[in-house]
Amino acid sequence: MSTGTGSKTAGKIFTVAVASGKGGTGKTTVAISMALCAETDVQLLDCDVEEPNAHILLKPSIQGNEHVSMPVPFLDEAKCTGCGKCSGICAFNAIVFLKKPLFLPDLCHSCGLCMKVCPGKAIMEKPRHIGILEIGAKGDVGFVSGCLDIGIASSPALIRAVRKQSKNAGLEIIDCPPGTACSFVTSVKDSDFVLLVTEPTRFGLHDMTLAIKVIKQLKLPFGVLVNKSISDDDCIGKYCSSEKIPLLMRIPDDRSIAEAYSRGVDLMEVKPELKDGFLKMIDAVRAIAEEDGGK
């Protein structure tokens, strides 16, 4: 993967991050529907590593697993002189020092600095398991999902591992985690477009505005999809028109959709008539991103 903005112009890949601010708005349903509708080379990356759900709806066949680990330091007692330098420089207080250093893997961010500064080369690294990648496909849709081990706090590292599986071609759809913190940022970073899935409630509007703040800071083009829509004249519609945010699609509030979802049946199976809408939306998203890139 190239650094910076080069990847956007050089490769043919087009990455849409499907995000929501608030959880439970139907983000995964939308991500999967987009993947199933797009007939080009398409890959779905489930970056919601704390609660990966895309596989439940997509039902891909899994071709392989990959274990993901982070390097954590360990000590070669014989070489350690007890100088204490390592514990002084760790920015995360992950090294307790009592004559010899004691490493606390739960606090370690795997930055590698302690190892680099140790004058006696007494620190080495060993892998600590943080999660699993599942790699597979459903028909023409490539699929990668990350699943964080229970009790592990570092989602961003696993999200980075999922995104490294990018094929760098065709359409790439990222199912992002909820919220607006570091895991969200790691998931949407360097994408070409962020599609915000929201619902027309007070919570939905409020959480969407929080997500928009972050996306604006990251300077990414974005648009909105309203799920469980009852009326065109709702709080989301009003907000989007006053803020000049493209409202790209509405999926009607329909009990049959919710019930199908509860059984793990995807939207395209219950409402195939929405396919046209999704294809139009993907075209619109590409057009907006292109215009934005031309700026």
């Binding site: 439970g24 609660e51 961010h109 913190a181 972050v214 509860s262």
Partner: protein, 293 residues
């Protein structure tokens, strides 16, 4: 003093609806909103802020362009892909740090041969102690995209405890974050019990298993309730069975209820709204919860 944390694994299951209802039903409670990433509880409890405090945590690195000799050591030592190089030849290229990717580890700062990198404290948000019509509330907003929401969660919980001690509160009702990662771990460790609000869908069931495993991992007493239970009665039953099998207390089923959105649009809890099928059921979940902590 007891502390109950309302969590959900999956987002959007109605966690805040339940937490706000508990606030309305409890006596002598202190409310804490630990969903600092996407807090919503204040939309219903409408807190009046008494004190606000800025929250700094960790650092971010920044290169002083004039002092940089373009050696590339920072790029080579950063494991978070935060150092960007503009131009190709080291020695002439311009180096900069993408603040949104910087983890604040300080490796580049320490290893820069000419000490050209500053290490600023990072502004990560704000936390508040407020009054609501149901009692004191401690809440926070994470700065957009900031890390370390876990630490902000700890601050909120610490101050909720302090507030409860000062005001003679006997229960802390916490609206927890979704997921099972760092903010959730920070929200539940050391609490008296968690109430997991599940949704009767295959994804909901999947996420409930994970959150229950997390609670078990940390040895916390677990209660489970199902929201919108009539959406899929089969899975609702399965959730009830799952909680029995894994030693959790099943606290009840809450039916789908249109009135909840109506109450929230008016900025009140469903309990105060008083209309709707869910009201009585949420009361039962509260009573069951009260009995078990």
């Amino acid at each position: 003093m007891k502390e109950i944390v309302v969590i959900s694994g999956k987002g959007g299951t109605g966690k805040t609806t339940i937490a706000a209802s508990f606030a309305a039903l409890a006596e002598n409670a202190v409310m804490a909103d630990c969903d600092v990433d996407a807090s919503d509880l204040h939309l219903i409890l409408r807190p009046v802020i008494k004190t606000g405090n800025r929250f700094f945590c960790g650092h971010e690195a920044e290169i002083r362009k004039n002092d940089c000799i373009s050696c590339g050591a920072c790029l080579a030592n950063c494991r978070f892909e935060a150092v960007k190089m503009n131009g190709d030849v080291a020695g002439e290229a311009e180096f900069s740090i993408d603040a949104s990717a910087c983890d604040g580890c300080g490796a580049c700062v320490y290893l820069c041969p000419v000490k050209a990198i500053d290490f600023h404290s990072r502004y990560c948000g704000e936390w508040f102690v407020s009054d609501t019509r149901f009692g004191p509330m401690v809440h926070a907003v994470l700065a957009p995209g900031a890390e370390n929401s876990g630490k902000l969660v700890n601050l909120v919980r610490m101050n909720a405890k302090k507030t409860a001690e000062e005001t003679g509160g006997n229960i802390i009702i916490t609206d927890g974050p979704p997921g099972i990662g760092c903010p959730v771990i920070s929200s539940v460790t050391g609490a008296d019990a968690v109430l997991a609000v599940a949704e009767p869908t295959l994804s909901g069931l999947h996420d409930l298993r994970r959150i229950m495993e997390l609670a078990r991992h940390f040895g916390i007493r677990t209660l489970v309730c199902v929201n919108r239970s009539d959406m899929n009665t089969g899975i609702s039953e399965e959730i009830e069975k799952l909680s029995a099998e894994s030693g959790a207390v099943f606290a009840g089923r809450i039916p789908y209820d249109d009135e909840i959105n109506r109450a929230h649009d008016g900025g009140i809890s469903i309990i105060e709204h008083g209309k709707g099928e869910s009201v009585g059921r949420i009361r039962e979940v509260w009573n069951e919860t009260r009995r078990n902590i």
